[in-house]
């Protein structure tokens, strides 16, 4: 049974994952005609959203993997047990910033 912290963590992960996939698709680090500075910025943006998507996907997948019989601590790639308050706060903060940006843009 998921408690409030896990539910917030999962929902925040879903929002961050959705936005990260959208932002990642808009980055064009290999586009023709970019200056060195623009290309560097595009690569940094792509790397940032790549890792945000990966981490958010882990948050979304963790309870699913636990329910599918993967024991917690069975793999070094994911920690499946209950998220800590710090992890939830970071992810929730990102999600609120994303929602704020979307509301601002209309």
């Amino acid at each position: 049974m998921m408690d409030a912290l896990q539910i917030i963590h999962w929902l925040a992960g879903f929002v961050v994952l959705a936005e990260a996939l959208n932002k990642a698709e808009r980055t064009c680090p290999l586009a023709v005609g970019l200056s060195a500075h623009e290309r560097l910025l595009a690569w940094l943006k792509a790397v940032a959203w790549f890792f945000l998507a990966l981490g958010a996907a882990g948050a979304v997948a963790a309870p699913v993997l636990l329910a599918m019989g993967v024991p917690s601590g069975a793999t070094h790639l994911l920690r499946l047990e209950r998220p800590t308050l710090a992890e939830t706060a970071v992810l929730f903060g990102f999600a609120v910033l994303i929602v704020r940006t979307r509301v601002k843009e209309g």
Binding site: L17, L21, N22, A24, C28, P29, G69, P71
Partner: protein, 140 residues
Amino acid sequence: MAEPASTTAGVTFIAATATIPVLTILGVPLGLRVDLLVAGFAGALVAIILLNTVPAMGDTWVHLVRTTLRRMAWALASSATAGYLTPLALLIANVPEALMLSGAFAVGGGAKPVLTFLIGRLSGKGSQSLPAKPGQEGQP
């Protein structure tokens, strides 16, 4: 006498599968390894960033939600493809265990071309493209 069907890669794969848990649904093992799914997902993300595999469809909220769900489904399908096809490649091509995650990353990044190629080869139609879904004929 050595068993003809057994290979080093096969033994390695069996040993790796024994240590890494596989996903199950209602007690039924799916044969999917978590590490391969993660590598396949990372490959799908790179494909979305560099190859623009799931382009945007419009600027409205409806289009945004639809595209987002399509991208999630794409990444999920790529992960599943990597999870199922990479062990197959390991057995067929005698790929060492050390390259397993790299292979999963590559399969996840190119899930659609890989599936198209395999289906084309198995069905004897070469590497023809799969038919597009209705309404998606004009998309790359």
